[in-house]
Symmetry: D2
Subunit: 383 residues, 4 copies
């Protein structure tokens, strides 16, 4: 918590029944850095109103559509300073445009957009705006992921050779989209999700995570996408081989049809001097093996954690933090950035959050995977 005035936050999407909207609201609240004061919470006016009321928003700041909201809030003296965008993917770009061009900071869910063209356009808008753009690749907010990144950057693993990233789930093992499951419906609908299904929904998380931790740039990839469930319009299983600039190699697997997996995001990085392994479902641990020595279990808040992890840590070792705290770290890093910008000060060097460039990389990854798969898993260059 801080003695500073909370930042005024609006939200687009995230009405009743939406999963990720509630997550963003808790994340914004944990450190007391934001006040949610306005929202266009649904594309259906009645649902928008009902959701606003349920959240205790003032009626005159509960909007029926995001454009009205952007216009009015930009004019209000105490209008929102930042907006959280938690709509289905295809709406990220049009919504973000409206707020960015009015100087309102954007905190946007991933993937950045549903098409590469949209992503490129949005990058330009962002470059011409003074507003910040924060992408909630929330897994980068885990303290032990920060530690992992630092260990790679400082050379503890030597030259990185092999990266294994995976993100299996099982919730789409059957045709949930045919069972009136809203989450499944839009995530398997090309019109709302884009050309990537599983690859866009969670493959991009795994890709972002490996990029964040290793700092490696992808040169090219070969992808084999598959849709196993009959009638499904988008991929539900993703196999990718990666070649990085400088010679490192990687594999990435994401799946939504792997029974027994909930959100089993896992990252393993191996270099000439050591290896690290991290699993999202047990995020307070990071194993580290200096080559030729026993494996060590580094714990968040514990003796092996460095300053980069500790500054995003709220509880001592052995009192586990989880998904919401990691998500809150993104929001709180964003708050530091927003306050720094308001104050005309430079962003402190240790503050990190996924940017619109990371968003563009993610959409390029999705696009390359889809293209490669269409070409029988031929190598496709990125960027």
């Amino acid at each position: 918590m801080t003695s500073k005035r909370p930042i005024r936050l609006g939200m687009v999407g995230g009405g009743n029944d939406a999963f990720i909207g509630a997550v963003h609201r808790i994340a914004a609240r944990i450190d007391g850095e934001y006040d949610l004061v306005a929202g266009a919470l649904s594309s259906t006016p009645e649902k928008a109103q009902a959701s606003g009321a349920a959240l205790g928003l003032a009626p005159d700041r509960t909007y029926d559509d995001f454009k009205s909201m952007a216009i009015r809030e930009a004019k209000l003296k105490q209008g929102i300073e930042a907006v959280a965008i938690v709509t289905p993917n295809h709406m990220h770009a049009p919504v973000a445009q409206e707020f960015l061009k009015r100087g309102i900071h954007v905190i946007c869910d991933k993937p950045l957009t549903s098409t590469l063209a949209d992503a490129r356009k949005l990058v330009k808008t962002a470059e011409n705006s003074e507003a910040l753009f924060v992408l909630t690749h929330n897994y980068t907010g885990y303290p032990m992921i920060r530690q992992a990144r630092e260990m790679v950057a400082s050379g503890k693993l030597g030259e990185i050779r092999v990266v294994q990233a995976e993100y299996p789930q099982d919730w789409l093992t059957e045709a949930e989209e045919a069972k009136d499951n809203k989450q499944a419906e839009w995530r398997t609908d090309p019109a709302r999700s884009g050309a990537g299904g599983c690859v866009g929904d969670i493959g991009t998380h795994a890709y972002n995570l490996l990029s964040f931790v290793t700092g490696l740039e992808t040169e090219s990839l070969a992808a084999d996408l598959q849709s196993f469930v009959p009638g499904r319009h988008l991929d539900d299983n993703v196999h990718v081989m990666l070649r990085f600039k400088g010679g490192a190699r990687g594999m990435l697997w994401s799946s939504q049809v792997a029974p027994g997996n909930e959100n089993a995001l896992k990252l393993r990085v191996y270099g000439s001097k050591g290896g690290i392994e991290w699993a999202q479902e047990d995020p307070n641990y990071l194993t580290y093996t200096p080559f030729g020595e026993p494996k060590r279990l580094l714990t968040r808040g514990g003796t092996g954690a460095d300053e980069v992890a500790n500054r995003l840590t709220r509880t001592p070792g052995g009192h586990p933090e989880g998904y919401l705290e990691a998500f809150a770290n993104i929001y709180s890093e964003a708050a530091v950035a927003i306050r720094a910008q308001s104050a005309g000060e430079p962003l402190p060097a240790e503050v990190q959050f996924p940017t619109i460039q990371d968003g563009l990389s993610g959409v390029q990854f999705i696009d390359a995977c889809v293209k490669s798969s269409q070409r029988d898993a031929a190598w496709v260059k990125l960027g």
Copy 2:
């Protein structure tokens, strides 16, 4: 989050540098149920003022002492409705007295008091007050602990026979109290902690947890307390054998000198039909073995979780929740109770939180352990 007006909360103790105060504040904030509006945050006036300012409290609601705070807040039209007490143990009773007698709800850290006499007096005060008393035995807020309790209550484990509870830590392996560590200082000081050291600080957590999950009443116990670190005034390692009414038996180990343990609270319960095992450091899992069948891994938010766990769950399976969310569950359960009482409505049956009776049981446990140990681990009856 709720559309209802947040409850006005005050805090006694928890100034700068205090660990548990910050935890209570986040817990109060996660679900948006409370607004922290007043505080007597330190027994040192300057620190109280500085801490209030750092938290953004209004200067006129930043008090130098808890009694002034109780008197004035009780008179204010928009005075606090509840107070969180996060002082060292010996102050719980005097502080709670002041607020309870003025009808302000109390949310108090554990153990209830530093002496059994204080605990008994406080129970009487609470019985004569209309205010609620909530004890933050926070581990009972973990969803999978609720599930465990429900499984025992519904007979899934059959008749309970054996209970193994343990809570080892390692942070007092050396004489931290001699190294200007405030946390270590008061926790090893009989004047502030009471007659129990490790047994009061964490043994009581393990004891509360086993009682909460199994519903067993302790008949008698035999305890062997030890202080291993030279110069330490209170126990730092606790061995207890337990006999429960009805014939079940248990063991409890708590330690602060067990290198390699952070907050390794663990509970195992075995009955005539099955067994369950839970570990606080990996709290999203509960293993369950129906006798004669393979072990099952039940996960919070997952397929094996029941309604009692799900109602205290914010994120889907595989997106881990942790210590702060469990703590927040105690606060949010308390909020339901406070609102129900204000509305003159009965408390919904599913709402549960540790009460002053649990607090009394905890102090009786500490007292019995200390007595037993003084008598060479003779059996001592509880209650």
Copy 3:
């Protein structure tokens, strides 16, 4: 394997259907150190003959009773050099007597005897015999247990303060002894097992292991034994508090009514400088935490394993060894001792196996537990 001639081995007990006899035979065979050439495999002559034939023993070396076997084998030019005793507990003493007094080495299952009087008598016999006495407390044969012992002995953990030992099983959760289960029958029968049930069958394993690893001598213990299953004549759950000479303290839990536990023997040792943890079901790992540093995972055959572990290791790290290999290590250590003795050479310092003194300690432990429990868990001195 060795180029040396295998030692000629006989066996008493271990006929068809006996579990532990087969284990001893494999253990004797793994390193090629023994040839099984004679046996009195059952107290029932027909079963003895049938079992001998099934094992391919020569008819004239398949005996109907152990005494005839001892007499004749002692006279044969190529008679057995060692005998494995794998009968129920109450027969260990009479059988061992016969072989020891004829100079035949004894490799005997645990516990040493079913009464303390028998144990003391047997110790005398052994002292007057030139034959070796090896007790198969097989868990001491695990390489990582050797490593643990060495780490304690060399001071890596500092002064030992706390020991936690446990050995829960679940196979007697119901009244197996009433279901024609031979293993359950004799193990719950005081006439064949002795006064201890679970405490003698597996509690003594846990006790031996903690003694072996820590080198601590027990001063006194307080035990609470319970028989949970209706109609059972011996304890099936054991709670013990231990006080060691020099001030360390311990707890020991063994149970045969803990659903979900197969052979979950576990040892944890904590000292002023560090802690170690080992679990029999995953025996290739030993975790080690130097106080103030991250936990390390030492693996059998891996980078953290010392010479004491490596000399009992057959496969590289990551190729797991198990129960039979540990058991074989006892046999192979015994073989070294037998050969050294035959050659009139001293036993190499690094060779270790449980002796008759360890057996006596085990029976003293059982006896003390039973006595303490009868006296309402009063402290009972050992030895």
Copy 4:
């Protein structure tokens, strides 16, 4: 153990210092099914003699070369019935030829040969011989792997969709081959290993295992092989995407440069109805998730183990078996086959061991991986 006469076994390769020869000898010995009576243990005559003497072989059955051994043993009345071939890969074919054509059963280490041409020739020889050919893809001997295979075959997982196989090690992270490490030398030498390095040494194990468990036939694969260590002549990291007949997809990763991995072979199989996961380093467990239900932990010897697993099990649940027992299972299955053939009886249906056809598949896999990698990871058909 069996009352039947042990099978007379010879060995080619496996002299002093060789790792895998000692493993084969223990495996042959554990169940008492074989007697090692002859050997050509090294290509260097002096080493061959010294190794034979160390193993206690008769001097006249310690041969300087495998051909003399095949010729003479075939003529002896009590000559060997089977030979274990544990040489470097390039010698498998010439050695096997000599014994097969003389009717001596062959138990050969993997991969079958160092070239595809050799493999095809050897298959023909085997087809024209009455002798059996057993390939020691030893991991298929693990009981829980048998259980996994049965679960797939019986439809418990539904239609198989996704297979993830991996086998990372770390022992070649540095240039061991330049440090006078014999094991590293021949394994990184194309002349002795063949065109595949890591892919032939361990990739083929992972491939065999996934084929054995799933029964899937590979249609095509795309492989990206890399040699990370400067100066190394063969691949040390292998990425493969697999397409199976019928539509399932897989990924395979094997590496010898992944610090922190010893022999971390792991198999995960996902179908329309459930998923299973198994790890070689903890081989007594198999997790099984029926879709929509909690994960179950099946244990070797435990309540969830089926007859297919139990028949290859020696110890009860919780008394772990390991690598050597699994290896022994291959030898003991082979013994059943050899005895059945000698007796002119059909092989019992439940007996399974890797055959020369599996060996051919393995070499085809290696060949396809090498070719695909040379063609920039183009899809290559198998077979």
